[in-house]
Symmetry: none
Subunit: 413 residues, 2 copies
């Protein structure tokens, strides 16, 4: 089955917004065995949208559209779809009730524009949009499937995951596509590729490997295609076992795991508590940890010591130590790890001090120099990292390395 993606909105064509929706959708569609033939971004103009649909229809069985469903005048996708299918808008009670509920929860009254959002073309199945006011729409005409979704990424993702992908999956039969994703941290893409080159070359022809590099981590995705599910599962498993042997040191999880989820799971199992002390990451580590629901069951908090004074006055790092070694040093980062544990009464701690850039570098401490320490009761571990020149990447990589350091300590301990 072939699919085409059409993203609608002038903001894409003036370069104000990078279209990240298409790549996400394409990835998800490939996972269920649907191939994407073409991705097109078009303007908020009726004729242009209709032409794009017509062209896509000639190449694909499924046409997924995003954008142009907001409550304002520049949003014309619904009216255009009515023209295209020769139908008109009807009021959908379920969608209106949902909008009403969403607003009343926030103590707001529905206005006329919101009322209009509950109107959908008569020939569609409206799709509930849990996180927004514009319903998705599913059409089937002349043996083709058309879906229109909001352009806001999280709304589109909700609708895709809860409705569109499962429904499309039912139509894709006789082909079994299995995916396994292995998550690695602390090794670059090319070094990883070198380590597993022999294994990769021996993969059977129906298993494909993709490297998905990200800041500080590389995901390896294996895709197996076949007809018999249990045979395919067995084949994947035996190949994965060999891979695991080769790179087990770098693997922190599988599929959609995050380091913060893996750490939370370990901490809860072991009934331990955690405190953190951050300098250059400025709260990012704490944000990662608390982004996981349920983190309050083990995470006590953090001291973000962004200035020397706070390191001294709140984190109680001795003045002489700061003077002698500097804030970015093994001595200071270990002291931070120790003191924050006492101050916040926790079993474990992570501390980070470094130079995120662009300012703050010295001849012996270039931008990207970061000291990280982790402790588990009386065990301490510390390490110096040299990341790159980008502030945003340095912050992300330091946060991840901190979590991974604690993870390794917990597993060994």
């Amino acid at each position: 089955m072939f699919c085409e993606i059409i993203t609608i909105g002038d903001e894409l064509l003036i370069g104000q917004v990078v279209d990240t929706n298409s790549a996400w959708m394409a990835e998800q569609l490939n996972l269920i065995g649907v191939r994407v033939k073409q991705i097109s971004s078009v303007s908020d103009e009726r004729q242009h949208i209709k032409n794009a649909i017509k062209e896509a229809e000639g190449r694909a069985d499924i046409i997924l559209m995003t954008g142009g469903l907001g409550p304002t005048n520049d949003d014309i996708t619904k009216e255009t779809l009515c023209e295209y299918f020769g139908t008109s808008l009807v009021f959908d009670d379920a969608s209106f009730n949902h909008i009403n509920e969403l607003f009343s929860k926030r103590g707001l009254a529905v206005n006329e524009l919101n009322h209009k959002q509950a109107e959908v073309p008569a020939n569609c199945i409206p799709i509930a949009n849990k996180s927004g006011t514009a319903p998705g729409m599913w059409f089937e005409e002349n043996g083709k499937i058309y879906v229109s979704m909001p352009g806001v990424p999280f709304e589109m993702k909700d609708i895709m995951t809860s409705f569109v992908l499962p429904k499309l999956k039912e139509r894709v039969k006789n082909v079994c596509v299995l995916h396994r994703t292995i998550l690695t941290q602390g090794i670059g893409e090319s070094f990883l590729a070198e380590k597993i080159a022999d294994w990769e070359n021996k993969l059977p022809p129906n298993i494909k490997l993709a490297y998905l590099p990200d800041i500080g981590r590389v995901r390896l995705r294996l895709t197996a295609v076949g007809n018999v599910e249990h045979e395919l599962k067995q084949l994947l498993k035996s190949n994965l076992n060999v891979l695991h042997e080769l790179i087990c040191h770098y693997i922190y999880g599988y599929e959609t795991d995050t380091l913060q989820e893996v750490v939370q799971k370990l901490m809860l199992e072991k009934k331990l508590s955690l405190a953190t002390a951050e300098s250059c990451t400025g709260g990012y580590l704490s944000h990662l940890i608390t982004s996981v629901p349920g983190s309050s069951a083990y995470y006590r908090g953090s001291i973000i010591a962004y200035s020397y004074d706070v390191k001294e006055q709140v984190l109680l790092v001795p003045h002489d130590m700061l003077l002698k070694y500097g804030a970015v040093s093994e001595e200071v980062v270990l002291e931070m790890a120790k003191n924050v544990k006492t101050l916040l009464s926790s079993d474990c701690s992570i501390s980070i001090s470094g130079i995120a850039g662009p300012g703050g570098a010295t001849p012996d401490k270039p931008i990207g120099t970061v000291w990280i320490a982790a402790s588990f009761k009386e065990q301490y571990f510390s390490k110096k990292f040299l990341f790159g020149n980008r502030r945003d990447h340095n912050i992300i990589r330091a946060g991840q390395e901190g979590l991974n350091m604690l993870r390794k300590l917990l597993i060994r301990g």
Copy 2:
């Protein structure tokens, strides 16, 4: 003049790579008055590429292509362009000399694949690629312009900046396109639309308005098209002035500003220092603040009090107060704002305490209930918010509201 962008490569259609090239090109083209009609991503297949060019040609005067120019077998753009224009490849000495030079600088010998990279279609003007081995190509046929460039972003950008954009600019005369973006926070899209409906309806036909909603904020983009730049600027300005009057309370910045940048600018101008105390946002506010280079000049740090104990022991919120009012209360959030200022010796503070969800709700404090306080010396302001059900959004919205509250205090003070 209309332009279309075609990005070529299977990696785009399986979602492995997000197409960031198109947005960059679109932005640059708009700045010189070239409007982008459509952006299409197609696969590495000859017929598909030729069809895409044919379709684009029907809508635009300029067709810009990226991708498929590498040295390996899956790169077929050059051969496809030869077929399309009914011509053949010829060896280009200048391109070969450049490749040779590039390799000898790195101490490498040119191999046969690199030799092939110096071949270009006979009907093109080759464009030097300073940072890579694949030359760009400029074609003019039947009154249309076609450009083919490598897909590697920095190579494409070099070729665009040094050759393509200046050459296109010569052809675009008498058209001026101006954009202005207004950033609002604290009001939903539909309520904003209602407030400015009269103004919007009276906009002259050559000014278009677009709503770009995001979590907790809405950007308004005005695009003006005309012939005389200073007249257009004047027209935009007078319309913007009226808009400003209508919604000044919600505007926090313009163009690509962020709330954290606006706050940093104000704090540095006023030579003030800031400390924060976070509960439910768990470090996100601190992360926002420190994501801006130079924030260490005014930001002292934060106490992330994720547990009751830390609120008591480190932030010194009285035990009785926590018991009586609960952690999510006006009393506690004001106490947090006051104490963190003393502890971290700062002039200003922001404090946040709420229920991000999914756990922690009580009958009178549903998920999404967040108390926020901001202080500027002896002035305190506090407010209760009721966001939604999503943990991630509640965290983002609370962080932004906290920054905006401080911004307003600073402007008034």
